[in-house]
Amino acid sequence: MKKIISLLLVLVMVVALGAFSASADAVKVGLITLHDENSTYDNNFITATQEACAKMGAELVIKTGVSEGEDCYEVACDLADDGCDIVFADSFGHEDYMIRAAKEYPEVQFLHATGYQAQIVNLDNFHDAFASIYEGRYLAGVAAGLKLQEMIDNGVLTDANYDENGNVKVGYVGAYTYAEVISGYTSWFLGVRSVVPNTSMKVTFTGSWYDETAEKEGANTLIADGAALLSQHADSMGAPTACETAGVPDVTYNVPTGDACPNTYVIYSRINWAPYVEYAIQCVTDGTAIDTDWVGTFATDSVQVGSIGAAAAAGTEEKLEEVKAQLLSGELHVFDCSTFTVNGETLTAENNEHVVDGYFAESASQSAPYFDLQIDGISLLNTVF
C-alpha cells in the first residue's frame, strides 16, 4: 500500500514538474517605463508590448514609474532575478543603468529604446532599437500641409497667420533640443512644406518629456503668435487640449487624440514597438542573436501614421498612400538635400558625412536619430533646453 502511495506521489510530482517546466518555457518579458499609462509616450510602449506578448504567448511584467537613476538598475536586476528572458526599457536616461544590469546578467537580453550606446559597449546581450519615424513624421506633415492648403483655400487664415515674408506660420512644441526631437520636427516641417511651399515654423521647447502645463503654455504661446497649425514632440495632452480650446488644427504623436479633441485632431504618427518586441521574443525562442542596433521601418510596420481625424482635409488618405509608396520605392527621400538649406547652404557629401546620393541618410548608421541641423525656415523660440 505504502509503495503504491509513494508511486502515486512520484507520479504526481513528475506531472507537476512537467507542467511547471512547460509554463517555464514561455518567454518572460519585463518592461520598464519612466511614467505610467497616462503618459502618451509610455502608453505607446505598454500597449505595444502587451500586444506583442499576447501574440507570441509570452509572459509580461510591467514596472511603471521607474526613474532614470539607480532605481532602473535595481528594477532591471529584479526582473532578471524574477526569471525574465528579456528586459526592455523605454526611456533614454535608462540606458547607462540597463548596460550595468546587462553586464551582471549575461544570459538575459536587455533591450533599450532610443539609446545609442549598444554599438559602443559591444555586449552580446544589450541592444538598442528605434524606428525611421522621420518617415512617419514626414507623412503626418504632408497631412498637415493638406489641411493648411484647405484652410488657405477656404480663406480661414488671417494676416496674423502670415509672417513678414508672406509665409504661413505653423508651430511645434518640442521637449529638448535633442536630435530625436530635431529630426522629428524637421521631417514634419519638410512634409508640410512639400504641400505648402511658403511655410515657416516656430519651435518652442519645454525642457521636459512630460510637463502638461509647460506643453500647454508652449502651445498657447505659438497660437497667440499666429500659428495656423501645430504639432508636438512631448508626451502629455497639454498641446492637443490647448489646440482644441483655441480651435487650431493639431497633428499629434504617439496616440491619436481624436476622442479628446474631436474638432482639431488631424492625424498622428507613432513608432509601433510591437514588431520589435515580437522579433526579440522570436530570437530568444530560436536562440538566435538580436540585432545590436535595430531600425524599424514602414516595412516592419514599426512606423505608423493614421487614425485620420475629422479635421483632416479631404483626400488625405489617398495622398498619403501615394507619398508612402514613393518613400518605400526610394523615389522620394525625406531629407532630400534639394528641399532645404542650412544657413543658406545646401548639404553635400563634402560638407556632411551623412549625405549619400543627395539626401541625408537618417537612421542608417545608428538606430537613434542623428539629424540635428538647424534648417532655414524653422526658428527656435528658446534653446536653453
Partner: protein
C-alpha cells in the same frame, strides 16, 4: 432632551504607558490592513491575502530586494535624523529636499569638474566637504533670516526647495551628455572614479545611518547643545532668560541639520546613483518630516518608522506590478495605512469620553 450637551468630549490624556501606546498603534495598523483588504476586494476583486503576500515579497522577495529595502530605509532614516534637531527646536525645516539636492549637486559638481585633475582620495575628501557645506548653507540661509528678521521658517525652507530643484535642473542641462538629452548619465561610468563604496554597494548608507542614529541620540539627550535645543523648543523666552543665545542655537542647529542632509546628497550621488537629476531626493525630504514626527523625535523609534514606510512603499509598488494595477492603487493603500498610523496618535494623546461615561466619572 433639554440637556444640550454634546455626545462626547475630547479629553487630554495623561501620559500612557508605553505598552498601551504600542497596543493602540498595532490596533491602528490592523484596522488599516482590514480597510486596505476591503478596498482591494471592492475595487479589484483580488484576494487580499495574495495582496499582502505581494507586499512582503516586494520588500523581501529576493536577496537584492532585501538589501534595497535596507538601503532605502537607511537613507530615509538619515534624512529623518537630519531634520530632527531643528524640529526639536520647533524650527519647521521642511527644506530637507532642497538641502539634499544641494548636497547631490555639490558631489556631482566635484565629480564632473575635478575628475582626472586631482587624486581620487582628494576628490572624495572634497566631495564630502562640498556636499556637507552646501547642504548646511542651504539650511543656514533660512535660519539666519529667521534669527535676524523672524521670517517664516516653514515657507522659507519650502521655497529653498524649489530653488535647489531648479538649480539642479539647470546644471543637468549644462552637464548633459549627450547634448540635448537633458540627462547626465552615469558619471565616470567606466572608471568609477570618485565612487564611494564599502564592500557591498548597499552597505554605505546602512553603516552611516547606524552611526548617525547613535550620534543623534547622544547629541540630543546628553550634550549641552541638545539641552539648549530642547529649551529653545519649549520656550524661546525661557531660553533667553537663562542666557541661551537663541539666534546662535538656531543657526548652529540648522547648519547641522542641513549638513546631514548634504551628507545624504553625497551618499545618493557618490554611493548610489552616480548621476544628478531633480528626482534624486524623490520626496523623501518630506517623508522624513513624517518619520521624525511619528517617532516623537526619538532616533531609535525612527529606525522602525522609516522601515515601516519603506516596507509599505516597496510592497505597494510590488502590488502594482504583480496584479497589473496602476501605481496609484498602491498609493491609495499606502495612504490608508499612513492615515491610520498618524490618526492613532490622536487617540494616544486624547481620550474620547462619551456623555454617559463622563457622567459616571463625575458621579
Amino acid at each position: 432632551m433639554k440637556n444640550k450637551e454634546p455626545l462626547f468630549h475630547i479629553v487630554k490624556r495623561d501620559d500612557l504607558p508605553l505598552t498601551k501606546v504600542w497596543a493602540i498603534r498595532l490596533i491602528a495598523i490592523a484596522l488599516a490592513l482590514i480597510l486596505c483588504s476591503v478596498v482591494t476586494v471592492l475595487l479589484t476583486k483580488l484576494n487580499p491575502l495574495d495582496v499582502f503576500n505581494a507586499v512582503i515579497k516586494g520588500a523581501f522577495g529576493s536577496k537584492r530586494k532585501t538589501w534595497v529595502t535596507m538601503q532605502n530605509t537607511s537613507v530615509l532614516l538619515l534624512i529623518a535624523l537630519a531634520v530632527t534637531p531643528a524640529f526639536r527646536m520647533r524650527f519647521w525645516n521642511v527644506g530637507g529636499e532642497g538641502q539634499i539636492l544641494m548636497g547631490c549637486w555639490a558631489a556631482a559638481a566635484c565629480m564632473i569638474t575635478l575628475t582626472d585633475k586631482v587624486p581620487e582620495w582628494l576628490l572624495i575628501v572634497l566631495m564630502i566637504v562640498a556636499s556637507i557645506v552646501c547642504g548646511a548653507l542651504w539650511a543656514a540661509i533660512p535660519a539666519y533670516f529667521k534669527a535676524k528678521w523672524n521670517t517664516n521658517d516653514t515657507l522659507f525652507t519650502l521655497m529653498m526647495n524649489y530653488i535647489a530643484t531648479q538649480l539642479v535642473a539647470c546644471f543637468a542641462i549644462i552637464w548633459e551628455n549627450p547634448k540635448g538629452s537633458g540627462t547626465i548619465g552615469i558619471i565616470n561610468n567606466a572608471s568609477e572614479f570618485g565612487w564611494i563604496q564599502i564592500g557591498n554597494k548597499y552597505l554605505l548608507p546602512i553603516i552611516v545611518a547606524l552611526v548617525m542614529t547613535i550620534a543623534t541620540y547622544i547629541y540630543l539627550n546628553f550634550t549641552k547643545h541638545g539641552y539648549e535645543i530642547a529649551v529653545v523648543g519649549e520656550s524661546e523666552r525661557t531660553a533667553r532668560y537663562i542666557g541661551i543665545k537663541v539666534e546662535r542655537v538656531m543657526i548652529r542647529t540648522l547648519l547641522l541639520s542641513g549638513g546631514v542632509c548634504g551628507l545624504v546628497g553625497l551618499i545618493l550621488v557618490a554611493g548610489i546613483n552616480h548621476t544628478l537629476t531633480t528626482t534624486l531626493a524623490g520626496g523623501r525630504g518630506f517623508t522624513a518630516v513624517m518619520v521624525s514626527w511619528m517617532s516623537h523625535f526619538n532616533p531609535f523609534t525612527m529606525i522602525l518608522t522609516s522601515f515601516l514606510l519603506v516596507f509599505l512603499n516597496r510592497g505597494a509598488s510590488e502590488i502594482a506590478t504583480t496584479f497589473s494595477l496602476n501605481t496609484s492603487f498602491s498609493d491609495i493603500l499606502t495612504g490608508i495605512i499612513i492615515f491610520f498610523i498618524i490618526g492613532c496618535e490622536f487617540f494616544i494623546r486624547y481620550r474620547i469620553s462619551f456623555h454617559g461615561n463622563a457622567k459616571k466619572r463625575e458621579g
